[in-house]
């Protein structure tokens, strides 16, 4: 009975909670510290994978080591106005693209060969579109349309079929996302083409 009385005191309850919290949070902090480097590296490799995908160089079933070595052998990084660009060749770049989708920010990479006016590929790093509808922008059916896609000589670069001059298909049932993606891709393409024409990437 005496024990129970002690347990029902506020000071005991608060002290108990504080102690348990310190132990649990301390343990988690230690584990977090121990795995942080590894998690960051996983994130970097994921990013490299997306860059390789945009350059259409991603091997099937590539291991981490393979992706890392392929990445460092293929690309030179370049800083342009605080934006990191990945240079594959004199005229071939993988550049980040981003804009607002239907629900939230969409980020990705696109590979452009400025000399031949060709897109090498497209990849999305993150988006928050509806799974099964707008979310299908990350599926091969949509992304593969951009592989080796020859662009028209001047904007608009990307036009959905069946409009005249159309070169890609939108996702049926996800017009909002499709239009948003096309709009920011076109805007980014114009931006990068201008910069390339000005000689910013030399």
């Amino acid at each position: 009975m005496a024990k129970n009385k002690r347990h029902s005191r506020y000071s005991y309850s608060i002290g108990f909670m504080v102690l348990i919290t310190i132990i649990m949070v301390g343990a988690l902090a230690l584990i977090n510290e121990a795995t942080e480097a590894r998690i960051r590296q996983n994130g970097e490799v994921k990013n490299q994978e997306k860059v390789l995908e945009a350059a259409n160089l991603l091997p099937e079933n590539g291991t981490y080591q393979k992706i890392q070595s392929l990445f460092s052998n293929s690309f030179e990084t370049m800083n342009w106005n605080e934006t990191i660009l990945y240079q594959l060749d004199a005229s071939i770049f993988v550049v980040p693209v981003s804009g607002s989708g239907l629900w939230g920010a969409v980020e990705g990479y696109i590979g452009i060969d400025f000399a031949t006016n060709t897109i090498l590929g497209l990849s999305f790093v993150s988006h928050s579109e509806t799974p099964g509808l707008g979310g299908r922008i990350e599926e091969p059916e949509f992304l593969d349309q951009f592989d080796k896609l020859l662009l028209p000589a001047k904007p608009d670069y990307l036009i959905y079929r069946p409009k005249p001059g159309g070169n890609i298909d939108a996702i049926s049932g996800a017009t909002g996302t499709s239009n948003a993606v096309r709009n920011f891709l076109n805007a980014d393409l114009i931006r990068y083409y201008d910069a390339y024409a000005r000689g910013d990437f030399e």
């Binding site: 347990h7 108990f16 949070v25 988690l28 584990i31 590894r38 996983n42």
Partner: protein, 202 residues
């Protein structure tokens, strides 16, 4: 030893968390479109339930009764974060595939229910075994549902193609309604079998 057997029989059959207690339904519906995801989810749950029950049982004599729920939630969340960090560091692909569901293990009623109903009243080693048994019962139901859903929805098992190319995938099986149908049918079958058992016993 006999007690261990009884606890396992309860977890797997007599008192199966999903089929009998109808707990943990949300995650059972969400992750069962692929065998691999279900297995990882199940292993995560076994780990979290077993260790949460062990910890709750270890400190049960010192825990003030009126704040025991807070203490339980704290312990469970610490273990869930542990699983999340572990997956992020060592299995990043599975971590992406499971997305928010790993974090949502914490809201899984099975863990809270077992901590409150069982671990509070039983010694640590028995509580630990109960956690493993309940987690295994949950995992088996998940795997059963995932087996049917993945086989019919994708024609694969653990990502390996089983049914030939002529198989037309039932896309309803991959979508949420497929999970509802499967779970309903499974619970129906299990209840009918159990009823027969009881009639025979009488």
């Amino acid at each position: 030893m006999k007690q261990t057997k009884t606890i396992f029989l309860e977890g797997l059959w007599g008192n199966n968390p999903i089929a009998r207690q109808i707990l943990g339904i949300c995650s059972a519906l969400a992750v069962t479109n692929l065998m691999k995801n279900s297995l990882v989810m199940g292993l995560g749950l076994i780990f979290v339930t077993a260790f949460s029950e062990l910890t709750v049982s270890l400190i049960r004599q010192w825990t003030p009764k009126h704040i025991r729920m807070m203490v339980q939630v704290l312990i469970i969340s610490a273990y869930v974060i542990l699983v999340d960090i572990f997956l992020k560091a060592y299995f990043p692909d599975i971590s992406t595939a499971l997305g928010p569901y790993v974090g949502l293990i914490i809201t899984n009623c099975i863990i809270m229910g077992r901590c409150e109903a069982f671990a509070q009243a039983n010694p640590p080693h028995i509580a630990f075994i109960d956690g493993i048994a309940m987690g295994t019962g949950y995992t088996l139901v998940l795997l059963t549902i995932a087996f049917v859903r993945e086989l019919l929805g994708f024609g694969t098992l653990f990502g390996i193609r089983i049914l030939g190319d002529s198989w037309v995938s039932w896309s309803i099986m991959i979508m949420p309604p497929g999970a509802f149908f499967m779970l309903g049918i499974l619970i129906w079958i299990l209840h009918t079998v159990k009823k027969k058992d009881q009639e025979v016993a009488k």
